[in-house]
């Protein structure tokens, strides 16, 4: 009985417990639902409800009242708890705002209601901003992300898009990619910039003549202006002092009051406009600072280059070059303006001096373009050099890290100029600007892209030059005087590719990354040359032919000297010729292919060579001797196979030197050369160990493959510069690495010419074989591939 009682008791308790748990779970969603409304959603609800109340006020006071009550409920249920805890003074201000709105509603005063509505909204924004700031300072990324959505953006238009820096920064800090301090800087920069823009918009609305007939709008905008400024006030106070801050706050209060009362705003409006002139609330983030400094140095360096191109013997010969110089000067001034406060903190007197030098350039450039006075390019060069030296004294070295974002900015600037020139139907100038943009790419980011994002190079080149894909290349369009719309469309597509490329190489400027970059470039560009040379060197191993290694070495050494000389040229000169880089590569490539074909033919088909030489044996004194011809051919092969890529490789390496210094780059070059050299040695040894016939076959195949790759790449370069048309295969796309490694591009020209090259080589070999067989059948016993002894006899007879 006792156990039965206990069992029943336990059963009852158990049932009660289950019931309690059930009830708890049933209530949980209800509780959760009141907590699950996000601050941004609540903010939107409040704004919408206030607006609805505003519009209903003249027609239906009851509905207006209901809407106001909805707004208040939304605030109390979602935002108030956090506001009361974290930003109590703003919570108080909000309660006063709601009260003011209620009074205005009762009085059916739409003007006062509009002002109260704006005050409530901007106070909510101020509260959200403060909560995000506090959360980041405490190291709470999730709270920051939650409240960050309750914000405004700069007015979006078809052409200007909302910023995303704050969102990205908070996500990055949660993902532990950046520090909380850096995230805070980005958030400050984004939000303060936004609210300063909104303040400017609100003040502007107060000056539009048509708006004076809209008292509700006046009241709303004046209250918005006052509200936005409360968010900026702490920064303003820091920069301009407390006295100036109080003056502005008083003036904004006066504007608010005057707008509500329907009085004149002008005196106070003028005070505010003067006070915020040259005021910049948003601090530069680390990225923005680096970018601005990069822009400043880059633009300054380009001013004398452009000016020098446009002036000759004291006369302006190319006006658009002077205009480009002015554009870069404007860009440098804009970057300097953004950095001036930072520089002043470091060294006010030198900053003022720098500003004077920068400002002094403007009238000289303007005078040249107007024809009044043309100063010598040296004068401009000297001024910019002085200015650069001064800036380097002001700016700490860790801030001066070269930023390829500056290069992308220059590219964008030149493309804008190109579009502007097309709009004026000045296609020559558009082409000049396009080349300028491209050479900036060549001498800047392309080096990094080659190593870290090679798949992006071809799409960018196609869009810059003669691409025939969805968007035709800019060079093609300009040469065909295409419409502004078409050119803009290609520019838009190019902007996207450049932006993706910019992101891809964003973190690739550490010393290690730069060294790896250099190694990869040298190894990849050098591999082709090494394959040709090592194959031939290895096959010229016998005593009778060993001397032909000498001209190959000589050609290689000459190429290396030429490459070193190119390296030693001033970078400015290289930059000037960068626009011709592709053309130079194309010409040298053609020479390389021709020489390779010739030498290959000579190497494998001695019978032709000797037969040909025998016919002219009686005339050998009058002709260039065959031996000399062979030497010239081999020297040329050594030279062109290395220097073919030498110019562009040097340009890339120079760009990397600017990032990380000569030492780092040379270490990477050494590594790359070591890699290429190792491959060469391996091939050489392999061939050395092979039996002669097998060696010839292996060499033949290797050289044949390299020949096909060279043909494919040369065709591609020809197509880039527009010397060959582009007809896409269409039915197939090749991945980027087939072009990178095998010269295989999905164009008819490329494929057909590679097939033709292969046919030529294979065909001539087959022809030689057939001829040899015929001779054998006729009783001739000459071998197609002469023995070593026969070769040496042939060569000696030629020499004699």
């Amino acid at each position: 009985m006792w156990s039965h009682r206990i069992a029943v008791s336990y059963a009852r308790q158990l049932l009660a417990g289950v019931a309690l748990v059930f009830i708890a779970f049933a209530l949980l969603p209800l509780h959760a639902s009141t907590q699950s409304v996000y601050p941004a959603d609540a903010g939107e609800s409040i704004r919408d409800a206030f607006f609805d109340a505003q519009m209903e006020l003249p027609y239906d006071a009851k509905i207006a009242q209901q809407k106001l009550a909805d707004a208040h409920t939304a605030y109390q249920s979602v935002l108030m708890v956090t506001f009361a805890a974290d930003v109590p003074e703003l919570n108080q201000r909000l309660q006063m705002g709601f009260s003011e709105a209620q009074d205005a509603l009762v009085a059916k005063d739409g003007v006062r209601f509009a002002a109260a509505r704006a005050t409530v909204w901007t106070t909510i924004l101020a509260g959200s901003y403060a909560i995000v700031e506090q959360a980041l300072k405490k190291g709470d990324g999730h709270t920051a992300r939650l409240w960050l959505s309750l914000r405004e953006f700069r007015q979006a238009t078809r052409f200007s898009h909302p910023d995303t820096d704050a969102t990205v920064a908070v996500d990055d800090v949660i993902a532990k990619k950046i520090s909380f301090a850096d995230a805070l800087v980005s958030v400050h920069a984004d939000l303060l910039d936004t609210y300063q823009a909104r303040l400017t918009d609100a003040l502007h609305e107060l000056t539009v003549p048509g708006n004076s007939g809209f008292p509700i709008k006046y009241a709303e905008q004046s209250a918005l202006a006052e509200g936005y400024f409360t968010i900026l006030a702490p920064i303003y106070g820091q920069q301009r002092g407390q006295k100036a801050l109080m003056q502005v706050q008083q003036a904004l209060q006066n504007i608010h009051q005057a707008a509500v009362e329907g009085k004149d705003l002008d005196p106070s409006l003028t005070v505010v406009e003067d006070a915020i002139q040259n005021f910049r609330a948003a601090p530069l983030s680390v990225t923005q600072r680096t970018r601005r400094i990069g822009q400043l140095f880059r633009f300054l360096s380009l001013i004398p280059i452009e000016y020098g191109r446009g002036v000759s013997n004291g006369v302006v010969t190319r006006d658009f070059e002077i205009r480009e110089a002015i554009t870069f000067h404007d860009g440098a001034e804009a970057a300097f303006a953004d950095l001036q406060n930072l520089f002043n903190e470091r060294n006010a007197s030198k900053t003022q001096q720098a500003k004077r030098l920068l400002t002094a350039l403007a009238p000289k450039l303007e005078a040249a373009t107007s024809g009044k006075q043309v100063v010598a390019p040296d004068t401009i060069q000297t001024t910019t050099q002085q200015l650069t030296m001064l800036l380097k004294e002001i700016i700490p070295s860790e801030w001066q890290q070269q930023d390829s974002n500056g290069d992308f900015d220059v590219i964008t600037s030149m493309l804008d100029q190109m579009v502007a020139a097309v709009a004026r139907k000045e296609y020559d100038q558009a082409e000049a600007a396009r080349l300028e943009a491209y050479s900036t790419l060549e001498t800047g980011p392309e080096a990094r892209l080659t190593a870290f994002a090679p798949q992006m190079i071809k799409p960018i080149e196609d869009l810059f030059w003669y691409g025939q894909d969805k968007h035709k290349g800019l060079a093609y369009l300009i040469s065909h005087k295409a419409s502004l719309r078409e050119i803009r469309a290609t520019c838009d597509a190019l902007d996207i590719e450049l932006a993706v490329a910019q992101k891809a190489i964003m973190d690739s400027n550490t010393p290690f990354a730069v060294a790896v970059n250099a190694a990869v470039i040298v190894f990849r560009e050098g591999l082709e040359s090494v394959l040709i040379l090592a194959s031939l060197m290895g096959s010229l191993k016998h005593s009778s032919t060993r001397r032909y290694q000498r001209p190959l070495w000589l050609g290689a050494v000459l190429a290396l000297i030429a490459t070193v000389l190119t390296w030693l040229l001033m970078r400015d000169i290289l930059v000037s010729f960068a626009r011709y880089g592709e053309s130079l590569e194309a010409i040298i490539s053609v020479i390389a292919i021709a020489v390779l074909l010739l030498v290959t033919n000579w190497f494998f088909h001695k019978v032709y060579w000797t037969g040909w030489i025998a016919q002219f044996h009686s005339q050998k004194r009058r002709l260039l001797s065959a031996e000399a011809g062979q030497w010239v051919g081999l020297i040329l092969l050594g030279l062109t196979s290395i220097y073919r890529e030498g110019f562009e490789t040097v340009l890339f390496l120079q760009a990397l030197v600017l990032d990380a210094g000569t030492g780092v780059v040379l270490s990477g070059v050494g590594l790359g050369l070591l890699g290429a050299f190792t491959i060469g040695v391996i091939i050489f040894i392999l061939q050395f160990k092979l039996p002669y016939k097998k060696m010839l076959i292996v060499t033949g195949i290797m050289i044949g493959i390299v020949l096909l790759i060279m043909v494919g790449n040369t065709v591609q370069v020809f197509q880039v510069v527009g010397w060959l048309p582009i007809h896409m295969l269409g039915f197939v796309q090749f991945p980027y690495w087939t072009g990178l490694w095998f010269g295989l591009y999905a164009t008819w020209e490329g494929i057909l010419l590679q097939v033709a090259a292969a046919t030529f080589v294979v065909g001539s070999y087959v022809l030689a074989e057939c001829q040899q067989k015929r001779r054998n059948n006729d009783g001739n016993t000459k071998s197609v591939i002469p023995s070593v002894k026969e070769k040496s006899l042939i060569v000696s007879s030629v020499v004699q």
């Binding site: 870290f452 798949q455 838009d492 990869v520």
Partner: protein
């Protein structure tokens, strides 16, 4: 043996070096994201709308041809035409007007996509967004009209605008001068009681039909990407404020004081609703992917577009019920629409940033 070993090692080293140096940034993962988003429905929607537009534009062309033939048969003697062929003209012109009034909102329902996609945007310029050469600026409609007489109208403006101006007389130069045509037979010259110029009507209708076919072909070839979709939204949602600005100065608000040629027949508000529908369609394609990075923001965007549409529809409903808004009210509505559009655009931009999608500038 040693040689084989050596050769194998060499090959291995070569392959490793090739793989190492072929390594590039993994930035090119856009294709995977494109697959995750359901962008096919955006294309299907566009093809459906262009198909419908093709039908309406052909109807418009047929009606314009009928009218032209009637005028030609009477040697363009309009007095004679009106008196002898009144009923036939009425049928032809009413048919043309009806086709236009069906085509216009139909186009608005896809305009958000057409205008936002770089490979299609030229058609928006030609069909609906471009201005006349006389107005100037960067957005001149890139179309000339060759009349049956051989005369060329240089850059008369976008085709919907030209047709509206011709059919309802909002562009007097596109009508037959000094000719009253009583559509509703009430004896009074009301708005639209004009005779369109048969030449202009025919050439504009022909051009529209032709460009709609081109647009269909271009739409079939279009492979939507995330960049297309996000760019279309971020570039176009803010245009709500442009539409409202146009509405504020239209006949529907400014009344007879309005000097606007376009949107005198159908309110701009209807235009906005159509555009928002196309934006909603685009965003539906993005939503599955957007939810993977921020479900709440995705919900907010979806809700924002729905609320924006409701907001405009409510104003339109009041307008259709005869309410005439004051200029101040219209301005307030316009400002509020701009705020809401900016908020939605802001959310969409953040979403694009979280997904690492590059947006066209």
């Amino acid at each position: 043996m040693k040689l084989r070993y050596f050769s194998c090692s060499t090959c291995f080293v070569l392959i490793m070096l090739v793989l190492f140096t072929a390594c590039g940034s993994q930035e090119n993962s856009q294709t995977d994201k494109d697959k995750q988003a359901k962008l096919d429905n955006v294309k299907n929607y566009l093809l459906e709308q262009t198909g419908t537009l093709d039908t309406y534009s052909r109807q418009l062309k047929d009606a314009a041809d009928s009218y032209y033939l009637l005028a030609k048969n009477d040697n363009f003697d309009y007095t004679k035409l009106v008196s002898l062929q009144h009923q036939q003209i009425l049928v032809a012109l009413q048919s043309a007007r009806k086709a236009w009034m069906l085509a216009s909102p139909n186009y608005e329902r896809m305009e958000g996509i057409v205008a936002g996609v770089p490979s299609l945007s030229k058609y928006d310029n030609i069909l609906d967004a471009g201005v006349s050469g006389r107005e100037g600026g960067d957005d001149i409609a890139q179309v000339d009209l060759t009349l049956p007489t051989g005369k060329v109208l240089q850059k008369p403006g976008n085709l919907f605008g030209v047709l509206e101006g011709t059919l309802w007389g909002t562009e007097p130069t596109f009508t037959v001068a000094n000719t009253f045509f009583d559509y509703d037979n009430n004896g009074k010259q009301d708005f639209g009681d004009i005779l369109p110029s048969p030449d202009v009507l025919k050439s504009a209708a022909d051009a529209m039909s032709s460009y709609v076919v081109e647009l269909q072909v271009a739409a079939k070839q279009w492979q939507p990407t995330l960049t297309d979709a996000f760019s279309a939204l971020i570039g176009n949602v803010p245009t709500v404020s442009d539409f409202f600005d146009s509405w504020k100065t239209s006949r529907f608000v400014a009344g007879n004081a309005s000097t606007q040629r376009d949107f005198a027949v159908i309110s701009r508000l209807s235009d906005i609703v159509g555009n928002i529908t196309s934006w909603q369609t685009i965003y539906q394609g993005l939503s599955p992917l957007a939810r993977t990075v921020d479900a709440n923001q995705d919900t907010r965007i979806t809700k924002g577009l729905t609320n924006l549409k409701t907001y405009v529809q409510n104003i339109e409903k009041k307008e259709n019920n005869g309410h005439r808004f004051t200029p101040q009210e219209a301005d307030l509505f316009s400002n509020e629409a701009r705020q809401r559009a900016t908020a939605i655009t802001g959310d969409i931009s953040q979403e694009a940033a979280k997904l690492n999608v590059k947006v066209a500038e």
